[in-house]
Amino acid sequence: MAVERRGAAIDIAGLRKEYLSGPGRVLALDGVSLRITPGEFVCIVGPSGCGKSTLLRILAGLDTQTGGTIKVDAPGWAVENAMVFQESGLFPWMSVEANVGFGLMTRRVPAREAAPRVDAALKLVGLAKFRKHYPHQLSGGMRQRCAIARAFVTDPGMLLMDEPFAALDAQNRVILQAELVRIWEQTRKTVLYITHSIDEALLLGDRTVVMTAQPGRIKEIIEVPFAHPRNLMTLSASPEFGKLKLDIWRVLEDEVMRARAEAER
């Protein structure tokens, strides 16, 4: 069954970000141009410090670019974007349901309308039974689920995900990746997903953007041809997957080495 792809279209052109660091200036992003079509799941990989988080923060409105433009076309979306952070960023003083409903509360969605949406989001991530719990009573995996529900409940034009599963143990990561793919297959939203794992990029996305070490530029964009619905376990064991992973590693390898040399200098 083909689900209609829906979400915002993003057009990033010549994006540049420079910031002051002590006495000098650091060029974090340079000439980044990327078009993302509605409903596309794009993963960005790159060595640490390549500015991939900066790119996401600019899209999220948490930072501003020094140059270049970003056009987001999100007709009919009340909420342009919602971000899922690396550390869940759940408010410890709010219950699970209050955290999930936060983006509705700030936008003054009336309780009558908000309650069923929060319910649906909690069910979507399997946390309906934990709605009255506080974040410190949840495991790391459940916290990230809650953060994902908080993003989905606002029905954003695009989801911005900044290594959301990086802090989880390997088993939880596999489970949450599968859940994210399942949720995405149901909703077909535009997703921009940052990771340092090639595996993750190939398992989740339609395209993988490889970035260079500082300053961050786009080195190569690789199409990921695997069809949906995806079974992540069988997919990751397939020869096509292994070959593509190796291709991407070859593109990425120089940059990782360069980032290391830079850091050790």
Partner: protein, 255 residues
């Protein structure tokens, strides 16, 4: 084998040192060390405590002192919390208040008592104002520090999820600072008893401070001790109640 739980046993152990001290004190006086007219034995204090309690005199002084502490505490804490949060959120507010706090905090607040008597007269208002001023400073400093040290990710999340300044203030900064605010309130509670009892030494006819000072002038040493013990008991009770309030107000705080 005792039937008590580990926790109850631990609580009983806490009583060993204070009870031991009282027993030693009593025995030394009974053996003739010290003059019982100037250093009453625990039993003398207990007897006097009971008679003051039975006559209703103690309750009167306790009531007056608690009333002044409570009203002064609320009057001082509410603006301190609000201004501490505003200082953390807005730099101009911080720049305006920082030097004022730095210069006014170290002034012993009891030194303001004559001024307050001049301004507000000999009634409750001057004592309440003194308590309010004394609690204001530790609370505003703690609130500001707590709010300024909220993890950056909470600001990011709030901003990305469309929080207005009002939501930021009431849902994020206030709650984020709440554990530190409570640490400030705890200090403020002790401070309020300290300054109030000192203030009640002069210019009033009621309150625990008055009871102590008056019995000094009449050389009723046992009544003085009753006053001192009463303050200790009040401090203990309010502190325990305070812990309960804190547990209720900060359910997310892990033990």
């Amino acid at each position: 084998m005792s039937g008590l739980s580990g926790k109850a046993q631990e609580r009983l152990l806490y009583l060993i040192s204070p009870i031991g001290l009282l027993v030693v004190w009593q025995i030394l006086l009974m053996l003739g060390f010290g003059d019982r007219r100037f250093i009453p034995a625990p039993t003398d204090i207990a007897v006097r405590f009971w008679s003051l309690l039975a006559s209703g005199e103690l309750a009167l002084h306790v009531g007056v002192t608690l009333y002044r502490v409570l009203v002064g505490f609320v009057v001082g804490v509410v603006p301190a919390v609000a201004m501490g949060l505003l200082m953390a959120m807005f730099k101009p507010v911080r720049i305006f208040f920082d030097p004022l706090i730095a210069s006014l905090f170290p002034i012993p607040k009891i030194a303001l008592m004559p001024l307050l008597l001049l301004a507000l007269g000999f009634g409750d208002a001057s004592k309440i104002a003194l308590v309010a001023i004394a609690v204001f400073f530790p609370v505003i400093v703690n609130t500001y520090v707590g709010a300024a040290n909220i993890e950056k990710i909470y600001w990011d999340v709030a901003k990305n999820y469309g929080a207005s300044q009002t939501v930021m203030f009431t849902r994020i900064v206030f709650f984020g600072a709440l554990p530190t605010i409570f640490a400030g309130l705890r200090i403020a509670l002790a401070v309020s008893f300290i300054v109030l009892v000192a203030a009640e030494f002069v210019a009033t006819k009621s309150g625990i401070g008055y009871l102590i000072w008056n019995s000094w002038e009449l050389l009723q040493v046992d009544v003085m001790f009753v006053g001192i013990v009463t303050i200790g008991i009040l401090g203990l009770i309010t502190s325990v109640l305070f812990q309960e309030v804190e547990r209720w107000a900060i359910p997310w705080k892990t033990e």
